[in-house]
Amino acid sequence: MRILVAMSGGVDSSVVAARLVDEGHEVIGATLQLYDSRESTKKGACCAGRDIHDARRVADRLGIPHYVIDAERRFHDSVIGTFADAYAAGETPVPCVACNQGVKFTDLLGMARDLGVDAMATGHYVRRVDGPDGVEMHRPVDAGRDQSWFLFATTRDQLDFLRFPLGDMPDKAAVRAEAERFGLAVAAKPDSQDLCFVTDGSYAGLVEKLRPDVMGGGEIVDQSGHVVGQHEGVTRYTVGQSRRLGNAAMRDGARQMVVGIEPASRRVVIGPRAQAVAHTLMLRDMNWLVPPPGPQGMRCAVQIRAREAARPATVWQAAGNGARVELDDGAVPAPGQACVMYDGTRVLGGGFIRRAEAVQAGSEGKAAS
């Protein structure tokens, strides 16, 4: 097969390229330039200038062609811009989902198709399984590196064209051993951490730069509107968080958490956890990898944060490509985060958690993918 490999310059996608070459495929490497890396050289973040250099050197070593694809404008508009907009709307976004969905699996994948290659492979930890009713997405063998939650928005058509050779790897040590075996200089390179485009460690600073309208402090209030403290900016808060509440962290002997964010009035609403728990979630922008549920609903397990176990629930379709999720036991979901449905290891679909009238809560959900 002729396969285009999305190479980040990290050890995972480098091993993918090496394995496919080793298996006798005709491999073409491509690295997305997502932002101008000359402004910083953040250690451990994906896609910086150093990473492009590393990807190119791996391709040289493997004797495969390699191209750097300019996706700066598109990444800025479709990932960083919407990331900032979501915070400005009081949500906690998952930019890795937007990046996978748009820049990687729409633009790069589209280019791969235009070039007439047979498939596109990435270093994501997820399994693609050819099932009786077509292609399926599953959690990887290495549960510790599961990226299926970040990939729920992959369409069946995209999934059909994609390959994830690392889904079967037992653990990261095995991947590094493969890199050693292939003589790749990136074998010992650190994993990427956090959001690749946040270069100075402060996503809040980036959001405020892009959306100055949300910059500045405001009031921390309880659910009846009484002012109980001050904060330095709504972008520093996620529904469900208990940090940064100062003297308001404990009230009447109960630990308080953020239960709502009102960006227009720059207010952070707090309350006790007991009042923050929700049983019903409304989702938007659903992607189904199985036929959507009928009127009787669908029993499944849902995962509402990047690093958290799935919990039993029933899911129904809702208007406007939405879904309604009834959790068996209450949870504290954060608006803007993903809610992904599973049957065992299989991904059934997912959507983004909407802001609801009912008070919802969750905890910070940013992690790299």
Partner: protein
């Protein structure tokens, strides 16, 4: 679109011409010369003789005094030296389609170009007269690297001199491809680069007008080499190779131009039939260069598709990361979003008819295969 790793057709001469055999011979010979041209002993004199012979050859070919041929590391250094060395107290005006080496040298006012890529004479005249007529340094390229469009430098220089301005000409793409001398152009300085006419990478020259010694503030003072205008031990093998390549290119020029123009025209006819438009078509152009714009098809994808088929071409200017950037040249010519949809084909001196035929077939197949993007998605 088959990947043919075994066959490679190089059609990116404006990035770098293939090395000429005469240049390689001269380089090998010069590499065996042990001395430093600045040394007083016999070995030093032998090295100096190689250096000065190369300098005299270049000076003769481009019509300057040998002492006014300053040898540099390449085109960028020659351009930057010309600008920073002559800009003191002057406004700097640069054409909108100039190379990054010139555009980025100093803060400058940008002179617009016409839709065909030629510098706007009227705009230049207004800009020269503006600002109380403060003396200017005007930078204009003889031939554009992306489109091959040739500027009427002689007329531009006359206009500039009438306003007391100096004229620096980036002739990196023109040298060895069209005939000129510094006197014919009326330029005050000219930058050339050895590897753009079949010499090795790493040598260039700044040619300065005048029959008397032309002083210049150096970028690198160093040990005062090049009569105080460019410090550092000269790269003797590269310089000897450059001079040999220049002799060959100039003697071969007329014959090459006829041959390459015929093939370029065939490529353009086939490309137009496949839906392309030729950027700068109506202007005088280099015989070896064509800029082919396929509306709605990203240059990046075209480039990769052709590379996969074994054809090396380029688009925009290659940034250090290797990504394809949108062309500022085509932007300046008013192509809008389509500025990201053109590739440059530049035929090297060594190209064969079979390679040209092969490219035409590969380009036609690519144009038919690549789907056009939605408007605005480029």
């Amino acid at each position: 679109m088959n990947t043919r790793r075994d066959s490679l057709t190089y059609l990116d001469a404006n990035a770098s011409e293939p090395l000429r055999a005469q240049a390689l011979t001269a380089m090998v010979s010069a590499a065996g010369v042990v001395g430093n041209p600045s040394s007083v002993h016999r070995a030093g004199r032998a090295a100096r003789a190689v250096l000065e012979t190369a300098r005299e050859d270049l000076a003769t070919l481009f019509g300057v005094a040998a002492e006014n041929c300053v040898l540099t590391s390449g085109g960028t250094e020659a351009n930057v030296l010309a600008i920073t060395g002559q800009a003191q107290g002057r406004r700097v005006l640069v054409g909108a389609t100039e190379h990054d080496a010139v555009r980025g040298a100093v803060r400058a006012q940008v002179v617009p170009v016409r839709p065909d890529g030629v510098l706007e004479h009227g705009a230049l005249e207004r800009m020269l007269a503006a600002d109380g007529g403060t003396p200017a340094l005007v930078c204009v390229m003889l031939a554009n690297n992306e489109t091959g469009v040739i500027n009427p430098v002689r007329e531009i220089a006359a206009l500039c001199h009438a306003h007391g301005a100096l004229v620096h000409v980036d002739a990196v793409q023109a040298a060895g491809r069209i005939p000129f001398s510094i006197g014919e152009l009326g330029a005050d300085s000219i930058a050339i680069s050895g590897h753009k006419f079949g010499g090795p990478k790493g040598a260039g020259a700044l040619l300065l007008a005048g029959s008397r010694f032309h002083a210049l503030t150096p970028l690198l003072a160093g040990g005062g080499q090049e009569q105080g205008r460019r410090g550092g031990t000269p790269a003797l093998p590269a310089i000897a190779g450059m001079a040999a390549a220049a002799r060959m290119a100039v003697s071969d020029m007329a014959q090459q131009a006829g041959r390459l123009a015929t093939w370029r025209d065939r490529i353009e006819a086939a490309a137009v039939a496949a839906g392309a438009q030729v950027c700068g078509e109506s202007a005088p152009r280099l015989a070896n260069t064509t800029s082919l714009l396929l509306p709605g098809r990203r240059a990046q994808t075209q480039l990769i598709a052709l590379d996969m088929a074994g054809y090396c071409v380029s688009a925009g200017s290659a940034c250090s990361s290797g990504k394809v950037t949108r062309s500022h040249v085509l932007d300046a010519m008013g192509f809008g979003d389509d500025a990201g949809c053109a590739i440059r084909v530049s035929l090297p001196w060594s190209v064969t008819q079979g390679q040209v035929d092969g490219f035409i077939a590969a380009y036609t197949a690519m144009a038919a295969r690549l789907p056009a993007l939605q408007a605005g998605a480029a």
